[in-house]
Symmetry: C2
Amino acid sequence: MTTLKDLAKLLNVSISTVSKALNDSDDIGEKTKIRVKEAAELYNYTPNQMALGLKNNQTKTIGVIIPNILNHFFAKVIFGIEKAARQHSYDTIICISHEKYASEVNSLEVLTNGRVDGFIMSLASETLAKEHVNHIKTFKKADQALVLFDRVSEKITCDKIIIDDEQSLYKATQHLIKNGRQNIAFVSQITNLEIGKLPLSGYRKALKKADLPFDEQKVLKLSTSENAHQLMKGFLLSQDIDAIVSADNTSGIMLINTAKDLGFEVPKDIAVIGFGDEETSYLTYPQMSYINQNPEEIGKTATELLIQRIENETNDQHNFKTIKLSTSLALRATS
Amino acid sequence: MTTLKDLAKLLNVSISTVSKALNDSDDIGEKTKIRVKEAAELYNYTPNQMALGLKNNQTKTIGVIIPNILNHFFAKVIFGIEKAARQHSYDTIICISHEKYASEVNSLEVLTNGRVDGFIMSLASETLAKEHVNHIKTFKKADQALVLFDRVSEKITCDKIIIDDEQSLYKATQHLIKNGRQNIAFVSQITNLEIGKLPLSGYRKALKKADLPFDEQKVLKLSTSENAHQLMKGFLLSQDIDAIVSADNTSGIMLINTAKDLGFEVPKDIAVIGFGDEETSYLTYPQMSYINQNPEEIGKTATELLIQRIENETNDQHNFKTIKLSTSLALRATS
DNA sequence: CTGTTAGCGCGTTCAG
DNA sequence: CTGAACGCGCTAACAG
């Protein structure tokens, strides 16, 4: 690794001359600048980020910790974060907790204290389930900037971006009702109980609003993909269902496929609205209607909130915002 | 941010005493250690990673740059990398190039020189297409450890992990032939020409081996999901096809769905083998047979190669390895 | 126009 | 047992 010192020795000038030359300081003569820059080029000099960070006490970098990279939603949030960060000349570094508490703590330690100026994170399901949030609290006490999104905890005081999951399912269910569906089922593949509450509530509220009965039998909760197809088949056959809202990324797709295999026509016999984005909606035929959580906007909002917090240094506890973003319903061919 | 200095002032001892106490040096008395540790706990002291890295000239961190986070394959490679890295007490930091050359260069700069000890990367398709590899070369000249996987370039001299895509499709095609299929189609959604060559070659070789004719009409190349369903329908109806091998992550799924919608039975009328993993194979019904690229093993192999390179410092150019990993065929219900 | 010095936070000598 | 001094690579204030 080439350092300023190396170049200085090489050119028989002082370290600061090299530094200034590379930074185009007025102090340095044109010829010297050129000489230095050529040497830097030749020896592939790049400033050491560690030293820069240490010096400036800032890194212009945002750390992101997400629980699961296989989930399209998080992947797209990251896309939004990177885009917004770049616009403010921040870089982005990502760590993954794999839904594990220990991993989350580790990632936090890896990035804390020097490597990034602030964090955007979504909590691991294990963290949420066990309500282990001390690592975050400690971290907050150290005056680090933090924005939580989606998987948030009430126990943590900070800026938060949340998604209006209740309204999402309310709107989706309502849409199906307006189209004349009377027997709407709710399907969800949810590992964490807490996370699943709001969507179900939205579904129930929509039914209630339309004076339709809520039937426990029409709610299917799946824990794994393993035997999901079989459970779905049994579910579809045993019930009198003309529409389904699905509250996760995959079950909508699986439902459409199993329903069609059983001879149902989609959407004629059974309408389906799932979760996802344009890309995943192409995985079914006909193309699936979906609730779009607008992940890119979530990323963008979180990033801008964080950068504001970083640069204003106004860590007044009373000023923390919680922004609730709404979703949109993308109607395709299955509803 | 609490520093050693802060604690030292607070406790009226010297900085080095605090440092030693926290590191359990024999130099320090038991009572002092306790006093220091309590204060550190109280003030949420954590060592500054920047300063540590600067001091030790190592970070025990691996940088990963991948082109596309939406791709399950890359997501799983990361999983393999993190697991292997952790076993060697390395941390992992990820950057995403979004298939863009400029982004890749930037990510490289973000992580280079201080933030990580070495890199694992897969090139962006733009980088590959334009054959812009100077950024990597410069980077290599600075004696940085680097392992490329999957999307590699011949123009770069370093350790590489590649996947035997040719053999994958050879084996898949051969399997279909053994099961009595005579009219096997090849479908692929490929953006980059270079990347798509080997799978097609494997398919052709398997046909040749079995004395089956290669028919250009039975090869479908898709560029976008947009009108893919329609193209697939036309393709399936106009040809006399009894099996399909698909060389990307999504087209296998889409094919099964459109084929079934057209009234074909899968696998009776048309057998399908796609790319993917157990999880994505559940997205179709019946569950899709797939070629598993063993992404976790790729991650593991890359990581171990990199760590070896980092710790041995043996950067002799002649010693660079290229490891070709084979894939496995996971037979489910569609073939 | 160029060089010297100090300090960012840390751990490690080496003196005391 | 404790502390002062040094250096990692860098920039900025200050001399010359």
